[in-house]
């Protein structure tokens, strides 16, 4: 059995008096696509942000690609292997799409200008937005921005990709173009942890779906099974609300 690339054990996180994560344990193996869903405030985004240490957990252990986060000498070494895509895209507003992709390649991966440029153009091509390479984020639609953001994370050749509600800030007609990119990525065997309520994506790509509530993992299983016949009352209640829409 292969070692899990992400190993989370009994993780707790407090925000002041709010107990956001209450003993989460989760393993993700190489090539797995894990979709996390749950009501807002359930701690799913917090959990995701703990995986690349954007949030510092209080208790427990998280090991990513063999490095224990708490004691990591240089957290940046871990982060360069873990791409992250945000709900609000967070493209660098003062840089073009192309420059968004090349900046970290050059500063962190120390690639030459030509090499970074080549990688960036290939990825922009891949996410179908190469014609906007010289456009600034403000000139792009939400869907285009999110595709550039995915390409920006991929440019670092990460081993893991984290998606924090990547389609929640998008207009409905733009959701598909982003999901298509994510689907293609999943097919290529990328290890992905996705916080999202996109059932279609979960069904098509996820090897596992996890339902979280109140800082705990309530239920997990194959997406088909979790969505059609959940065993826990809270999962049923949540799914009935989500599926109504």
């Amino acid at each position: 059995m292969p070692e899990p690339i992400i190993h989370i054990e009994n993780v707790h996180k407090h925000f002041g008096r709010i107990h956001a994560l209450r003993g989460i344990s989760l393993d993700v193996k190489i090539g797995e696509v894990v979709v996390i869903l749950g009501p807002s405030g359930s701690g799913k985004s917090t959990l995701l942000r703990c995986i690349n240490h954007l949030e510092v957990y209080d208790h427990g252990t998280i090991t990513v690609d063999g490095t224990l986060l708490k004691t990591a000498k240089d957290i940046n070494v871990v982060r360069r292997e873990v791409g992250m895509v945000f709900q609000s895209f967070n493209l660098f507003a003062h840089l073009t799409a192309l420059e968004n992709l090349t900046l970290a390649q050059r500063k962190v991966r120390k690639r030459s200008k030509a090499e970074a440029h080549k990688v960036a153009m290939e990825l922009l091509e891949k996410v179908g937005i190469v014609e906007k390479a010289h456009a600034y984020p403000a000139q792009l639609s939400g869907g285009q921005q999110q595709r550039v953001a995915i390409a920006r994370a991929l440019a670092m050749n990460p081993k893991i990709m984290l998606f924090d509600e990547p389609t929640s800030a998008l207009d409905p007609e733009m959701i598909k173009e982003v999901l298509d990119v994510m689907l293609a990525l999943a097919k290529e065997g990328m290890t992905m942890v996705v916080v999202s309520h996109e059932m279609g994506f979960a069904r098509a790509a996820a090897s596992r779906a996890i339902f979280m509530d109140e800082g705990q993992i309530v239920e997990e299983g194959k997406p088909e099974k979790l969505f059609s016949s959940p065993t826990q009352e809270r999962t049923k209640l949540f799914l009935s609300k989500v599926l109504q829409i």
């Binding site: 940046n76 873990v82 660098f92 003062h94 970290a104 962190v108 456009a135 600034y136």
Partner: protein, 289 residues
């Protein structure tokens, strides 16, 4: 700290980029070639500069005695004022940048020092600070020299221009720190998070992602500070710096014509500040991306 990349981004902020136009047609690409761009419309407020300059020139031409004589007399003071403003401003930007970073630092010691600096300095009038640096600071230096028997310090004689720069930089640096702090904080947290998530360090993220965007935000208040500084340099005339104001006072003391002296001095300051304001407005227009 602000390495080559920072200044390149700074250049980018100031360089002209008409992205909307670039999308519509290939022609505006010419904008990047000097001289090929369509004539930029002259800032309409230049007329005010022209009127004031004309007024000053007319006064000197029609009544060379005393106006032209006053001008000849205060010209070295004018140079001092400009020099003092320019040199101080460079250091104020540096102090302000580090002060601003200190104010948002997570490290409690750095944050404490930066906060104390800002709060103390903002609480004391600039004039008092300038006097303190000129009259009080040398006493401390001499006392230390006497205690450690180091003659170079014990015989220290105040250098008015140097201490004036120190006083202006320390005082204005505190205000500038607050401007930089606000500018950095106005950039969405997501920009820093996205940068950190790519494996860039805090300093790299600041240098390449946050500061280039913050500059755009702080440009108007920084420009404001520059004009205030230009005018406040007149305070150094009380601490033995022969600036424009002090030279004016000297001329008045010799010739007893306050009306002419102070009218011309006021006009000269006005020309300096109006031109600065136009330059700042031009920069603000350039920095748009």
């Amino acid at each position: 700290m602000p390495s080559d990349g920072f200044f390149r981004n700074l250049g980018r902020v100031f360089s002209k980029k008409p992205p909307d136009l670039a999308e519509q047609s290939p022609a505006p690409k010419l904008d990047f070639i000097l001289g090929a761009e369509p004539r930029e419309k002259l800032d309409p407020w230049w007329w005010l500069v022209a009127v004031v300059v004309l007024l000053a020139v007319l006064l000197m031409a029609i009544k060379p005695d005393p106006y032209w004589n006053i001008f000849l007399f205060v010209r070295d003071g004018l140079a001092i004022t400009v020099e003092l403003t320019a040199i101080s401003f460079v250091f104020i930007i540096i102090v302000g940048l580090f002060g601003g970073l200190g104010r948002i630092a997570k490290n409690p010691v750095i944050h404490f020092i930066a906060t104390i600096y800002v709060e103390v300095i903002r609480g004391v009038p600039l004039l008092v600070q300038l006097i303190w640096w000129y009259f009080a600071a040398p006493v401390i230096i001499q006392d230390i020299g006497n205690i450690i028997h180091f003659d170079a310090l014990a015989n220290y004689r105040a250098n008015p221009l140097f201490l004036a720069v120190v006083g202006l930089v320390i005082c204005y640096g505190a205000y500038m720190a607050e401007i930089f702090r606000a500018g950095i904080q106005s950039i969405s947290k997501g920009q820093m998070e996205a940068s950190r998530s790519l494996g860039m360090s805090y300093m790299q993220s600041m240098t390449y992602v946050v500061l280039p965007q913050a500059i755009r935000v702080v440009l108007p208040p920084v420009g404001n500070e520059f004009i205030m500084l230009l005018k406040d340099t007149s305070l150094v005339s009380v601490v033995a710096v022969a600036d424009l104001t002090r030279r004016g006072r000297e001329f008045m003391a010799a010739h007893f014509n306050p009306l002419e002296v102070w009218t011309l001095i006021a006009l000269i300051y006005l020309i300096l500040t109006l031109v600065s304001a136009r330059f700042i407005a031009w920069l603000e227009k350039k920095r748009k991306y």
